[in-house]
Symmetry: C2
Subunit: 456 residues, 2 copies
């Protein structure tokens, strides 16, 4: 027991410690180690731990998770890692697992379950949970309505302060320092804080007092906008309503933090054509298929670049130094362009880029491109000239570097802006398009100039 | 006024709407537009708006920000964008700006201010704020102690419930649904919730009741671990103590969300060698310098790749198709490797990778590499063979693709793991090292095999 993490360890340390010990332990030790471990950690950490195990081990350990925690662990896992477990469970086990599932958990799991199982679970839900589930299912993946929390304290709009206070004090929901007023039709009528209730006379009618100064969010609000709204509200949660003004649930700061993490994880994974749900240990065949698409798209751009090079075969035979040096031109353009691209994608995500400041940004980035282009062209031109003992080679190299780095800056601004306007996610496709531009322009200018100047 | 954003707009929409209108408006319209706008939006949005303006405009608009908001706006801006304003302000203006600065704001600004100005501001602080400032300054950039919130309700450890409740109810701090008990020495003695206080008899001594079940965080805890701890606590904030157990401040979910955003922004920017504080409109010379380092590092790897190609000059002259096709080999390896790298960097960040599961991950990734290598080698080999009408060229291409994609998978796992063990951030340096490997191996295998097989 001395080796097991204590309460003060952070979740990441706990997980990596457990991954370590679990994988190194002998078979029989693993059993008891895992059993001790899962008694001590939260479902979220068991989820991280299961994700970090190869699929065979993962299924075995999963059987050891206490039945009353299995559902929470699954909900906390990434979709692909969870799918590997769900696919092995027979239908009766799945049905039992979903015996008392709530709306939020079922929404998270539904895509990975057979339709019949989901329908069955919905029928067995309480009327209120079924209602939440059906409402949440109407919203898309990027709308906050899909992810709402329903653990909130509701009081009738005509309640008295004393009654509302007692309901709040009895509630065990997290962040229940506010209650929402709803009328008989389920319409949202305002929010009041625990603090305010505690200072009102017991018999005070709530409809006669000033309520919390907040605007409820619309369920169709994008996840990004909703998380920002909670962050800036100064409150622990914001209520969310549908178009008719009916209360749908709420988004707490905790939920906002979780959704923000997922959003950024998606953006990080998108840069290599993967998504946030990708499993560290998904089966080889499945992983290969997932990644093949991105490789295929990249192949097309690489073929285009090769085709450009192919146009200069005759030149390359006569001036082989061009073949040796050409990757440098393409590569420097790619790096310079991706720096601009990353900055612009961030600006777009924050709403900091509009038609109005585009021109100013373009001229600044082109300025940076020209300046860096000149600086590096001198260095690279000198290296190339000395390497091949030929001034003209150095000059061709220098000119191609200036041109490609400048074009890269231009493309680094325009590519994401144009993609964004066409509704294409620039975080996902920006780098492929940009690399195509910098490769093609790089090879074309360098080999083109080389043909003109260097061919004897 | 009809065109100005209303309360329901999200902060991003507001900002991009204002950027748009501000940049398109004529000079005299700008004045009134901006004045109307800043009356309606929060300091955080004014900060985003100022960041999105070219530096000249930014300085002009900054003068229009109401004096009592200027400090909050500066604190909310990214360091580089804020620096552009701070550098233009004369010392007396700076001193006036910091007249009633609190500890958190001064910590954020201190690095961009002259030392004398900071010292002067510290002397003018209240004893308590000075104390918070000095404590926070002791902690590093990645320790939570540096960023703590000090707006929290403290009560003596021997207080009675009624008194503590009254103090909490009177407090206007956000998330003040909990009070911290401290003794005469400032040692943290526990936390109690508003809810619990409201249900206790007025005269109940707090030291005799069970307090909130939480472990305070250490001020030296890393920012990432601290934000996770708050997220999983189910509470709106966690108290933070120093090594002696003195209460240093707290981290609320809101602060955790802000720090999480910054952490991810850093990781996204790190992939192109930039940092989170980079200004969209920093001066051209300054931007160029910042980006030059990354271009220089990349140049070294590109030169290495070129040197490898240079070893095969004789071959290239005889078989020019190798020059045409070689970028495809390097590029496919780079893409395949960066997919693995990104997945592994995420696993490392979450503590999901340890010595124990490294071997399993390696064999899975190599499996994916071999499978994708074989699949793509068939396609690319066929394309190359048909293009140059030569079976041997196709076979050399196919072999090089299999080898490079497999090596890329291996490097995609090992490069970040080794960097991480040596304390080097794999998010920053992983891709450069990986590209070097895939370029060198790609050119070496393809040109090497070509020399052996294709040279007549």
């Amino acid at each position: 027991m001395a080796d097991l993490p204590n309460e003060l360890d952070t979740s990441r340390e706990e997980v990596s410690h457990l991954v370590e010990r679990l994988s190194l332990a002998k078979e029989e030790q693993q059993e008891s180690l895992f059993e001790q471990a899962i008694e001590q950690v939260e479902p979220g950490e068991i989820a991280l731990l299961l994700e970090s195990l190869p699929i065979g081990d993962r299924l075995e350990r999963w059987q050891q998770v206490a039945q009353d925690e299995q559902l929470d662990v699954l909900v906390a896992m990434r979709a692909e890692a969870r799918g590997a477990i769900l696919r092995t469970l027979p239908e009766p086990t799945l049905a039992a697992l979903l015996d008392r599932v709530d709306a939020e958990s079922l929404i998270e799991l539904a895509d990975d379950l057979p339709v019949a199982i989901v329908d069955d679970a919905v029928t067995r839900m309480t009327a209120r949970q079924r209602n939440w589930f059906e409402q949440a299912s109407q919203y898309g993946d990027d709308e906050v309505g899909r992810y709402l929390n329903h653990e909130m304290v509701l009081v009738p709009a005509n309640a008295r302060a004393g009654d509302a206070l007692r309901v709040l004090l009895r509630s065990h929901y997290p962040f229940s320092d506010q209650a929402y007023l709803v009328d008989a039709l389920g319409l949202y009528r305002g929010a009041i804080s625990l603090k305010q209730l505690a200072s009102l006379p017991d018999t005070q009618r709530l409809k006669e007092v000033p309520l919390l100064d907040l605007v409820p969010l619309q369920a169709t609000t994008s996840v990004v906008d909703a998380t920002e709204a909670v962050e800036h509200s100064g409150l622990a949660a914001l209520p969310v309503v549908d178009t008719e003004g009916r209360l749908q649930g709420r988004i707490s700061l905790q939920l906002a933090l979780e959704l923000t993490r997922e959003e950024y994880e998606s953006r990080l994974m998108a840069t290599v054509g993967l998504d946030e749900e990708t499993d560290l240990f998904s089966p080889v065949l499945q992983s290969s298929k997932r990644r093949a698409l991105w490789l295929g798209i990249n192949l097309l751009t690489a073929l285009l670049a090769s085709w450009v090079i192919g146009r200069f075969e005759a030149t390359l035979v006569q001036v082989v130094s061009l073949a040796v040096l050409m990757p440098i031109v393409a590569s420097m353009g790619g790096i310079a362009g991706s720096q601009t691209l990353t900055l612009v994608v961030r600006g777009l995500a924050m709403g900091q880029l509009a038609q109005g400041n585009l021109r100013a940004l373009l001229s600044k980035e082109i300025g940076v491109g020209v300046l860096n282009g000149i600086a590096w062209s001198v260095i690279i031109g000198a290296v190339a000239g000395l390497w091949f003992g030929d001034l003209a080679t150095g000059l061709v190299m220098a000119a191609a570097i200036i041109i490609n780095i400048t074009v890269a800056a231009l493309a680094g601004v325009l590519v994401p802006v144009v993609l964004d306007r066409r509704g294409i996610d620039p975080a996902l496709s920006g780098s492929v398009v940009l690399t195509t531009v910098t490769d093609v322009v790089g090879f074309l200018t360098f080999l083109g100039l080389g043909s003109l100047v260097l061919v004897p």
